[in-house]
Structure formats: C-alpha cells, structure tokens
C-alpha cells in the first residue's frame, strides 16, 4: 500500500472544504456548480481510500454512483442555468434572491442591481494577452453608454 488512509482522508477533507468555500463565495452560477463538483471529488477520494483500506470493491462501486449523479446534476443544472440566463441576461446568483409569487412580500429589495447587464460595462479593448484592466469604480449611471 503506497498511499496511506490518513493522507487520503486529509486530502478528501481539504478538497471538500475548498469546494464548500467556492460554493459559498462565488457569485457566478456556473462556478457554484463547479465547486459542488469539487466537493464530490473529495467524497470520491474518501470512498476509494476506505475501499482500499478494507480491501474490497465497495468504495469503487459507490464512486461509480457518485459519477452517475454528478453527470445528472451537471446536465440538469446547466439547462436550468441556461434558462435563468435567458430570463435575466446575467449569471449573477444575487439576481435570484426573490423567488416568490409577485403578490407575496419580498424578502430582499428587488432593485439590486440597477442594470441587469454587467456585460455592457465599457471595458477598454485590449489584446487577449496581458493583465486584466481594473474594474471601473465610477457609478454605473455616469459611465458613457455604448452606442
């Protein structure tokens, strides 16, 4: 046995926690789903390590099921995200804070953000390589509108 059980458990825990932090901090819907997949990787390492430790194939069978569910989740989630993108033209998760019916009380104010499209920020056109330009910190209303 080359890789010990403890190292595998520590690695699985680290990957799970990194995925959880990404799940909580990222605001892009797609990156939230990718972070969930990173958490699944940590769980798979755990399962395989215990399977190898006990010397049977149960951990590998469980990991096959994890793969199956991950594929289902990716397909369904991506089609949902595409539908949500078509509604709001943005991938920001904060746009979906209120999911209730229109006549129900709002839990957060609906005015966030004032303009739905973050794509229309007039970033300077640079070559593809190079540093990313600084984010414009002036208020959105004062920016010149795109012709």
């Amino acid at each position: 046995m080359t890789s010990s059980l403890e190292s595998n458990l520590v690695l699985g825990a680290i990957l799970f926690v990194l995925g959880a932090i990404g799940f909580l901090t990222r605001r892009n819907l797609i990156l939230i789903m990718l972070s969930a997949e990173l958490m699944l990787h940590g769980v798979s390492i755990n399962l395989l390590a215990f399977g190898q430790y006990h010397g049977n194939s149960q951990g590998q069978s469980f990991t096959v099921f994890v793969l199956t569910i991950a594929a289902c989740e990716a397909g369904l989630g991506l089609s949902l995200i595409l539908g949500m993108y078509r509604r709001k033209k943005s991938l920001d998760v904060n746009l979906w804070t209120n999911l209730g019916e229109p006549d129900l009380p709002r839990l957060a104010d609906d005015t966030y953000p004032p303009a739905p499209a973050a794509l229309e920020e007039p970033l300077p056109h640079l070559a593809v390589a190079g540093r990313m330009p600084a984010y414009p910190t002036t208020p959105r209303s004062t920016l010149p509108t795109k012709p």
Partner: protein, 250 residues
C-alpha cells in the same frame, strides 16, 4: 490559550491556509496573490509534515504527494480565479490530479472513467455554457466574492474539526511530534456477517474492470437499475427544461 499552544502543529498550517484562501479570493481592490501563495505553500509543506511517513516505494509516494498538492493548488486557484473560463480549466486540472490519486488507490478503471466523464464531458459542457452566456470577459460578479471572510472562516473551522477528529484517532502526529502509533481500526469488519460477498477481490482483481463489474452487477444490481432510471429521468428533464428557440431562428 493553553489548548492553542498545545495544538500549534495542527492549527498553524490551518491558519496559514485560511490566510492564503482568504487573500486570494477575488475582491475589488488588488488581491495579494503573492502573500497568499507563499502562505499556502508553507501551509501545504507543514501539513505534509503532519501526515504519517510514507511506507513503500519512494517514487510512488512522490507521485502521490505531487498529485495531492496539484489537486489542492488547482482547487484553490479554481475558487479564486476571476475569469470563469480559467476557473473551469483549473477544475479540469484538479480532476486530472484526482484521477492520479484514484490510480494510486488501486482504481485504474475509475480513473479512466472519471477522466472521460469529467474532463471529456462535464468540463467541455461547462465551457460551452460559459462561452454562450458570457462573452465579454470577467463580469462584475466574478470580481467580487460574496462574504469571503465568513465563508473562509466557516470552511477552515470545518476543516479543523475534521483534522482534530483524525488526530484523535491517532492518525496524525501528536503535539509532541511523535510518530503516529499503529493504525487504529476505523470500522472493524463485523464477524460472521457476509453482506457483500461479491465485492471481495478474487485473485487480486481489486480495481480491475472484472472486480468492479462483479461488485456492481452482483451486489449492487438494484442500485445500478435505479441509477440508470435516474439518468433517463435527468435526460428527459434536461430536454424539457432547455430553453427553446422560436421556429426558424438559429
């Protein structure tokens, strides 16, 4: 305070790792990636010293630790990159490193399957969707993380809890730095109960296609049928949910 001083071998790499992840998360002002990177590397090296010494061939332990470090570093870069396309590519790299770990855990079939499913299908689909939905570089919501301090503190408190449980199982080195004693039986196999007889390796075929197939289609046949049903339902659901275009438009 006394407890912190006693546990510094475990708490110091965790604190450094927290500093690294917290400093590297995207924010409005300039990120201190150099400080975060140095803290992260120190944390990884200290954590490696905490693990039990590798036994067996040196080259395999080296490959194992290289794959593990690559997985952790790509994971950190994935959750901290501003560009979603770069983040998806970092995730692909983390998947490849995890497949190396699978290989070393005597699961070559699963390593190949994970490469095919993740790097071949899932990451490519994610890249397609990112390019479809977001063509103009990094948007504002990718440049600011939501509650980075709270999330990282939560994550590393969870990690500290997991590590402390492992330490109490005498799996990690103690505060005095003494080597870990003999491995503690985590879950003893119950005597006289033969739950999954087909999952046992025959003639050392653990992890081969034959062994995994016998376990899957012998012990877990009903679960395989259920998983196939879930795949079918997910396919139908994805087709039903996918946004439709009007007739005649591209």
């Amino acid at each position: 305070m006394k407890w912190i001083l006693e546990e510094w071998r475990l708490l110091l790499p965790l604190a450094l790792g927290w500093l690294a992840v917290w400093r590297m998360l995207p924010r409005d002002k300039s990120r201190s990636r150099i400080l975060g990177g140095i803290a992260g590397v120190i944390a990884l090296v200290m954590l490696q010293g905490l693990l039990p010494a590798p036994t067996g061939p040196l080259i395999q332990s080296g490959v194992y630790f290289a794959c593990a470090a690559l997985a952790v570093v790509s994971g950190v870069l994935m959750i901290s990159d501003r560009d979603p396309i770069n983040a998806a590519l970092w995730f692909a790299l983390a998947t490849l490193a995890v497949c190396g770990i699978f290989m070393l855990n005597s699961a070559p079939f699963l390593a190949a399957a994970t490469v095919v499913v993740y790097a071949g299908a899932i990451v490519v689909t994610f890249l397609f969707v990112i390019m479809l939905a977001q063509q103009a570089g990094a948007a504002g919501y990718d440049r600011r993380a939501a509650q980075p301090l709270l999330a990282t503190v939560f994550g590393f408190v969870l990690l500290a809890g997991l590590m402390l449980v492992l330490r109490d199982w005498k799996a990690l080195k103690t505060a005095d730095g003494e080597a870990a004693p003999a491995i503690v039986q985590f879950l003893p196999t119950p005597e006289g109960i033969d739950a999954n007889p087909l999952s046992r390796p025959v003639n050392g075929d653990l992890g081969t296609l034959q062994g995994v197939g016998r376990s899957l289609f012998g012990d877990y046949l009903y679960a395989v049928e259920l998983a196939g049903t879930i795949l079918l339902i997910a396919t139908i659901g994805a087709i039903a949910l996918a946004p439709r275009r009007a007739q005649g438009t591209l």
